[in-house]
């Protein structure tokens, strides 16, 4: 929330699109709202697609986040297609109390990598509902093992207790930054390309004149 003071700096920052994906009812919205608005939503209503923006400091650098909270139901898979293409980092959420949601992780990971046409991409595996220890159906080591195999980090958190919530989002920002730094060249060229296209150029000009 500290971004408000430094508005001009924020404008130079690229917007990072973080997409929260995972099976139905695993707590994607709860996690996102806990991060953005700092409270725990009790009611579980299925989301179709919600987006939020937030500015925050991660490692003393201001960043502008656009967080997309998505539907867990397979039925909305074409929507997924759309937002997966535009996301710069992903949180794959599953519920440690729901074996099915854990099984879906691998598929989601594969999907992201395929759409991005990359072997690795900024993705974090998040096991939610860690507070419900006695209802746990996915052991921690299982999740860690899967994360290791997919070569992505794993975090266990609880939206209810606000445990590891900020960490998950901050970590993904770090990963995205690192990834973009590593791929600096392509990103530069992407910006160049955008500048080249006449419409963009015009807009920018206007912007500068203002």
């Amino acid at each position: 929330m500290g971004g408000r003071s430094n508005h001009s700096a924020a404008q130079n920052q690229p917007v990072l699109r973080i997409v929260v994906v995972g099976g139905g009812g695993v707590g994607k919205s709860a996690l996102t709202i806990q991060f953005i608005q700092r409270y725990f939503v009790q009611d579980y209503d299925p989301t179709i697609e919600d987006s939020y923006t937030k500015q925050c400091f991660v490692d003393e650098d201001l960043c502008k986040l656009e967080i997309l909270d998505t539907a867990g139901q397979e039925e909305f898979s074409t929507m997924r297609e759309q937002y997966l293409r535009t996301g710069s980092g992903f949180l794959i959420i599953f519920a440690v109390t729901d074996r099915n949601s854990f099984e879906e992780v691998r598929k989601l990971h594969e999907l992201i990598c395929r759409i991005k046409d990359r072997d690795d991409f900024p993705i974090i595996l998040v096991g939610n509902k860690a507070d419900l220890e006695n209802e746990r159906h996915v052991a921690r080591h299982e999740a860690e093992e899967l994360a290791h195999r997919l070569a992505i980090p794993y975090l266990e958190c609880s939206a209810k207790l606000r445990k590891n919530v900020d960490e998950a989002f901050f970590d993904i920002v770090r990963l995205v930054r690192k990834y973009q730094h590593d791929e600096r060249m392509p990103i530069h060229s992407e910006i160049d390309r955008k500048l080249e296209s006449p419409i963009k150029l015009k807009k920018k000009k206007n912007c500068r004149i203002q």
């Binding site: 099976g23 139905g24 009812g25 919205s29 709202i33 608005q37 939503v41 009611d43 579980y44 209503d45 299925p46 989301t47 179709i48 697609e49 919600d50 987006s51 939020y52 923006t53 909270d69 867990g72 139901q73 397979e74 039925e75 909305f76 898979s77 074409t78 929507m79 297609e81 759309q82 293409r85 535009t86 729901d98 074996r99 099915n100 949601s101 099984e103 879906e104 598929k107 395929r114 759409i115 046409d117 209802e135 060229s189 160049d192 390309r193 080249e196 296209s197």
Partner: protein, 870 residues
């Protein structure tokens, strides 16, 4: 189904199989799911479920392209083995060129490759400009043969001609686009090997009686993707067995009972939710179309945005925001009104499921959950996804993009909130203005959910019974089970009565499949080589040729003689010659009768050469029989007769030459194809390709949709059913009739008795054939009493169809009678004339002459059939 839709199906059936159509026309992409098409298929080949067959189908998503220059719009064409099947809409490049369109084709012949060509649209300003071929991607079928769809980026092969080199240089000039152009395609080629329906009897029995324990076992081990496929197949089978209600309710209630958190109900992707979703797609498609189709089209045509998120809008005046809000409000109201007003169109099947669920929940004192459950079914799983991605539900063909997609998202969000009975706020504040609408409509939502789940309401009767290919679904289920049913699972369930048989059932099925010619399921009349005319797999054709024993028409000296025939030279490889063995084979019924009886006696065990041979002879007879059938059905019979032949032509290159690409024999000349308009090509297709000749519609009217007979569940051998017996006997008589009697009775009648006698009794190729066999003696094939056990199939037949067949049989019987009489007359005539004329001269001369005349009458049409594929 609306009449216009009906028309469309009808036209595509009559002009083209397979159905090439263009996505721009908003044509439903899976027309083969259409009940009418399925019904026609079944009518064309009523014995489909009695034979082993292969169903080929392809599902292909043309998703996006990258590395294309940002210039004008692009579209793709989809060719299967060089026949144009579909075209995407034209999309301009934003980030990538994104189409996101899917196509599904079933009932395909065996194809070797898919070719997706990317075109750049013509410049609208230049009149003479034509679409330019950018390049193509060829995917061979073996790459797609897996169970799951294969999705990957394919590099586009740019062609080497002038155009493409210009493109290439243009690409090179753009320093920014370093990537070579590539296409992201997701596709699955499914070739389902389907055994005769009765092979699945045990499996079907297991599914019908033990679906719940089975699902319980499979739920934790199936992957999400398989879960969806499995649930879809299962629900379709259950629907056909009239068990869908019970199955769905049991499955859903089990999930409800297991969940300790009511909020999570129906939220995940479980077998229950997947089954419910498939069921809704199966039965409520018409409802969806009638409810939302117009609305979605209106929204998509509208250019205005109804974005209400100030952050997304940027710095705009309040008036714009107000305007957008008003628009969104109006959209939401229209959508909701349409849904609410169309409540009586919800299919009875679905209402019944909802009603039972409500009852059961009430009985458990959890009645409050009923609304949540029903709303999650119909809104979260059906209506809202359909609004959000209408192209997935065949409401429109094009994938909505940009502002349109956002508009649809906002509408779906509003409706979902209404269905959740929650107000906006907390999550997205900018939507709070819609709370007024949501609160106002709550009571109507309650009313709606109650109305669709109360048994007293009468709804639309099962009008168009969605037709399910039970054999195919069962074959798929068997495949899924084979993958999932590990020895460990079997061990676990060994003591459970319900599931202990799974392994042996699967083993049996695998065993049947391993048997190449399926001797176990052969019986004199059920064998037919191919599924039906548009789908005769070549593997069936080849063995048939190989198996054709030289003289299966040997007189009843015993099986040994028949086998002896094998070593002799083969007179002809197929039926299309007018070689006489075909004829005489059909006449020599005693041997067939023997073999037939024998075969039926040893069901399951016979794999000897004898049965092998009988099989092939039965095949031959069947083939001619199908001709008869066609002839009988309608005047279009002659032209339709070509169909099996053309289809069976083994080489795909032949096929290509008959399609629109006939002027583009090689891929390098693909750019030519871009010159003709789609309409021209379609026309060319229907004219040049013999497959697209006058179709089934030309000859006869389609009878009314059959009412299905309820499948009898049973575990013991069926009770004796005299009617079924009669029914089975009758066709036998017909099938034993010499084919030519039906095919060209006039030819026969016109020939003199001597010719016929000569032709029949002195086959050029079969010295063993009896010389004094009685002419044209139709005979009844003896069928064992337990025959009906082999064909539960007939029980599925409708009364109408029964009547149709009965009529056919009767007319054929009359024909036989007539020919018998004619024969007798001719015989008498002959007897009287032989005394007067020099026997030697008349014998040889007449036979020569009339044989020629016979064959010349007979040949031309057949010749044309043989020639057609070229």
């Amino acid at each position: 189904m609306t009449s216009s839709q009906c028309m469309h199906y009808f036209v595509s059936i009559s002009f083209s199989f397979p159905i090439p159509f263009y996505s721009r026309t908003c044509a439903p992409r899976s027309a083969y799911h259409c009940p009418l098409v399925s019904y026609l298929r079944k009518t064309m080949n009523p014995r489909r479920d009695l034979q082993r067959r292969t169903e080929n189908g392809i599902l292909i998503w043309i998703l996006e392209a990258k590395g294309l220059p940002a210039k004008r719009k692009y579209y793709c064409e989809l060719c299967l083995d060089k026949t144009l099947y579909a075209r995407t809409s034209s999309k301009s490049r934003s980030d990538n060129v994104f189409w996101g369109e899917h196509f599904e084709f079933g009932m395909l012949p065996k194809i070797d490759e898919v070719c997706v060509s990317v075109f750049r649209e013509a410049d609208p300003k230049k009149k003479k400009d034509r679409p330019t071929l950018i390049g193509y991607v060829v995917i061979t079928m073996d790459q797609l043969a897996g169970r799951n769809p294969v999705e990957r980026w394919y590099t586009v092969n740019t062609t080497n001609n002038d155009t493409s080199s210009r493109i290439a240089s243009a690409l090179g000039a753009k320093s920014s686009s370093q990537d070579a152009p590539s296409l992201r395609i997701k596709a699955r080629w499914q070739s389902v090997d389907i055994l005769p329906l009765r092979a699945y009897e045990d499996l079907l029995h297991l599914l019908c009686y033990s679906y719940l324990p089975l699902c319980e076992q499979l739920e934790p081990i199936l992957a999400v993707r398989v879960k969806e496929d499995f649930a879809t197949s299962l629900v379709r089978v259950m629907y056909k067995q009239r068990l869908a209600k019970e199955f769905l309710c049991d499955l859903i209630m089990r999930e409800v009972e297991q969940l300790d958190n009511d909020h999570l109900m129906f939220r995940g992707n479980s077998l229950a939710t997947k089954a419910m979703e498939s069921f809704m797609k199966l039965v409520a498609d018409d409802y969806l179309q009638s409810t939302l189709s117009d609305f979605i089209k209106t929204v998509l045509q509208c250019e205005d945005s109804c974005e209400v998120d100030p952050q997304k809008l940027g710095n705009v005046s309040n008036s714009v925001l107000e305007k957008n809000r008003a628009l969104l409000m109006r959209y939401a109201e229209v959508a909701w009104t349409k849904i609410h007003n169309n409540v009586h169109h919800i299919p009875v099947d679905l209402r019944e499921v909802f009603a039972i669920l409500r009852c059961r929940l009430d009985a458990q004192n959890r009645g409050a959950l009923a609304d949540t459950l029903i709303s999650s079914s119909i809104f979260l799983r059906f209506l809202c996804p359909a609004i959000l991605s209408p192209s997935l539900f065949n409401l429109v063909s094009e994938y909505p993009s940009g502002a349109n997609a956002r508009n649809l998202t906002l509408i779906a969000k509003t409706l979902q909130n209404l269905a959740n009975f929650t107000k906006f706020g907390g999550k997205e504040h900018y939507m709070e203005f819609m709370n007024e609408f949501v609160e106002r409509e709550w009571h109507r939502m309650k009313d709606f959910l109650l109305r669709i789940s109360s048994g007293t309401q009468t709804g639309v009767e099962r009008n168009a019974d969605a037709v399910v290919d039970t054999g195919k679904e069962l074959s798929l289920i068997a495949t899924y089970l084979e993958e999932a049913w590990t020895p460990l699972l079997q061990e676990k369930n060994a003591n459970k009565k319900a599931l202990c048989d799974v392994k042996s059932i699967l083993h049996d099925l695998a065993e049947y499949k391993r048997r190449p010619d399926n001797a176990a399921f052969h019986s004199p009349m059920v064998q037919q080589p191919s599924s039906d005319y548009e789908n005769s797999p070549q593997q069936n054709v080849l063995p048939r040729h190989e198996n054709v024993p030289a003289y299966r028409s040997t007189p009843p000296v015993g099986q040994a003689t028949i086998m002896g025939g094998r070593s002799m030279s083969r007179p002809a490889t197929h039926l299309l010659t007018s070689d006489d063995y075909v004829l005489s084979s059909a006449f020599q019924t005693p041997s067939l009768r023997q073999a037939g009886a024998r075969l039926s006696d040893e069901t399951g065990t016979s794999s000897s050469r004898t049965s092998d041979k009988t099989t092939s002879s039965a095949e031959i007879r069947d083939d001619t029989d199908s001709d008869m059938e066609l002839e009988n059905r309608g005047r279009g019979g002659r032209s339709r007769k070509r169909l099996p032949r053309t289809d069976a032509s083994p080489s795909s290159s032949q096929q290509a030459s008959s399609g629109y690409l006939s002027n583009n024999p090689s891929r390098s000349s693909y750019s030519n194809s871009s010159s003709s308009s789609p309409v021209e090509r379609l026309a060319a297709l229907s004219i040049a390709n013999p497959v697209f000749g006058p179709g089934p519609s030309s000859g006869y009217n389609i009878p009314a949709e059959p009412k299905e007979v309820v499948y009898q569940k049973r575990s013991s051998p069926p009770p004796y059913d005299p009617e079924a017996h009669n029914y089975h006997y009758q066709p036998m008589q017909v099938y034993a009739v010499p084919p030519d009697c039906q095919v060209s009775p006039r030819t026969q009648a016109g020939a003199t008795q001597a010719n016929i006698q000569n032709r029949l009794s002195l086959p050029r190729t079969n010295p063993r054939a009896s010389r004094n066999s009685t002419l044209l003696r139709p005979s009844v094939v003896n069928v064992p009493d337990d025959w009906d056990r082999t064909s539960d199939y007939w029980r599925d037949r409708t009364i109408e169809q029964y009547r149709n067949q009965q009529e056919m049989i009767e007319s054929q019987a009359r024909e036989i009678e007539r020919l018998k009489k004619e024969n007798l007359e001719l015989k008498n005539q002959m007897m009287s004339t032989t005394t007067k004329i020099d026997s030697k001269r008349s014998d040889s001369g007449a036979s020569e002459d009339s044989y020629d005349s016979l064959s010349s009458l007979d040949r031309p049409s057949r010749k044309s059939i043989v020639v057609m594929p070229n």
